[in-house]
Amino acid sequence: MEALNLMPEILFYIISGMVLVSSVMVVASRNPITSAIFLVVDLFFVAALYASLGADFTAAVQVLVYAGAIVVLFVFVIMLLNLKPEALRGFRFTVGEALVLLITLTGFVIIATELAHAPPDIASPGNLGAAAIELAGGNTFVVGMRMFTAFLWPFEIASVLILLAIVACVMVAKKDKKSGLKGHIQSSGGN
């Protein structure tokens, strides 16, 4: 029965391994569609990570919103633009790229050292186990209560921000009225 107690830990390493591999594949693959599909796989396994920590609601919303809606739009755009696979450039960096790489690596080292000094149970739900979640009224209830009481203001601001982004996109995509051509967004959607 020893092995069964280790199951969550083994699962954690498998899932995080998949997250890492697919994340690398997102930036490393040459075909944009391949990148997008690996992004879906990545988001799916991040959701699995949430689920393994007992955050079922967050996991379901992660798949629903990111994998099921946002990346679909990415895939759409890539398909319609018909992007060609990028040619491999070999290991030549511009100064800017080298700088970004340096900053990223520094950040990675800082986080890794911080994590090494962190208490050993940082990856486990700790006192937020299944029993505690059940006692508090369930995942969805707690998230809903927090979101609409304590975090109502940030939540509403975030939605306004997204609305602004949508309006901005429509403005950018809209063609000039003087040209006489209707913009793509106006003409789609029928009569």
Partner: protein, 377 residues
């Protein structure tokens, strides 16, 4: 077969259960494996049967004979074996991959279509709990607190199968079919989700099992509690599965066969499988959410248990009841397909965004207001 020790293979198998410590975890694990195997095995039987029904029913409606030849020797079985013959043909047919297709995604697309459909089927509660050797076994492969969201989340992944299939085939008709299909699926996913929110508000849970348990009698059924939700759900059901009258994705007259134009043999069959399994899942969901799921009308669960003397027989009755209700919706799918003509694409989109979405939103707000007034303390 002798294993070297004085133990035959059968005796070895029989001694296996004694080696395992039977607690809730191990029982759950074995039950999960068994339930999953039965579910997948059962779902794989769906397409041949449904294809047969889908040929015989329109034949009845249009006063034709339909397939009635293939059978064993002198038994024709109303042409039921036609599906078996078709399945064998589809599996053994030569596979042709078009030139210029993206090889990996071309082969992966049917998998992306089938996988979410089967995964969603795992979350449906097929009956009340079984009682095996004192252990309670829920009759859904996985029972989740967020069953509702799980179903919506996983079924939203089916879009990838369709869009990748069209793109990877390197055929303009395939691409146009897949763009139509995926735009349609995304558009109708929103009213579908909207139509389920009033149900969540009324029953106060996202757990499908608890929603069924709350629908003890006819007046508690979701269809009477939220009739508008049911109407929206019913319409979205057809659009989500790309079935007639919303089957513009494969409008033969315009797009050859839509996103699966370039597919043949077993991969074409896989798309069929995905479509029929998601039809079945949505039918089960409609029955579960709006028509009391495994609850037998007029006879409460406790009465069945008392009459039958065992919860297991009541569970069996529950499964039969759910399958009966789901088959009704499968019938509606086929009935509508052979009754209504296909919509035009702009009609489909304006129906989705200009009618279904506002009605769905109004339904959510209306239900919330009514519930707030009724539950005001």
């Amino acid at each position: 077969m002798n294993l070297g020790v004085d133990l035959t293979f059968l005796e070895f198998l029989a001694s296996l259960p004694a080696l395992v410590e039977w607690n809730d975890f191990t029982v759950g694990l074995v039950a999960f494996a068994v339930k999953f195997a039965i579910l997948v095995g059962g779902l794989l039987q769906l397409p041949p049967l449904l294809v047969w029904i889908e040929r015989r029913v329109p034949a009845l409606m249009q006063r034709r004979r339909g397939p009635n030849r293939v059978g064993f020797f002198k038994w024709r079985l109303y042409g039921l074996m036609q599906s078996l013959a078709d399945t064998i043909k589809l599996i053994f047919k030569e596979e042709v991959v078009p030139d210029g297709a993206h090889k990996v995604f071309y082969h992966l697309a049917p998998v992306f279509c089938v996988f979410p459909a089967f995964l969603v089927a795992c979350a449906i509660p097929y009956g009340p709990d079984l009682l095996v050797f004192g252990h309670k076994i829920p009759l859904s492969v996985v029972r989740l607190d967020v069953g509702f969201l799980f179903i919506l989340a996983i079924s939203s992944l089916a879009v990838y199968g369709v869009s990748l299939a069209g793109w990877a085939s390197n055929n303009k008709y395939s691409l146009m079919g897949s763009l139509r299909a995926s735009a349609q699926m995304i558009s109708y996913e929103i009213p579908l989700g909207m139509s389920l929110i009033p149900i969540v508000l009324i029953y106060g849970t996202l757990d499908l099992g608890k929603i069924v348990e709350a629908q003890t009698s006819l007046i508690h059924w979701g269809v009477f509690a939220a009739p508008f939700s049911f109407m929206i759900f019913l319409i979205c059901m057809f659009a989500e599965t790309n079935r007639a009258p919303f089957d513009l994705a494969e409008a033969e007259g315009e797009l050859v066969a839509g996103f699966h134009t370039e597919y043949n043999s077993a991969k074409f069959a896989a798309f069929f499988l995905g479509e029929y399994v998601s039809m079945f899942v949505l039918s089960c969901l409609a029955a579960t959410v709006f028509f009391g799921g495994w609850q037998v009308p007029f006879v409460p669960y406790e009465t069945i248990v008392a009459l039958a003397g065992s919860p297991n027989i009541a569970a069996l009755a529950g499964i039969m009841m759910l399958l009966l209700k789901a088959s009704f919706f499968m019938w509606v799918y086929i009935w509508v397909r052979w009754t209504l003509p296909r919509f035009r694409y702009d009609q489909l989109m304006s129906l989705g965004w200009k009618f279904m979405l506002p009605i769905g939103l109004a339904n959510v707000v209306g239900t919330a207001v009514v519930l707030a007034v009724l539950r005001f303390k």
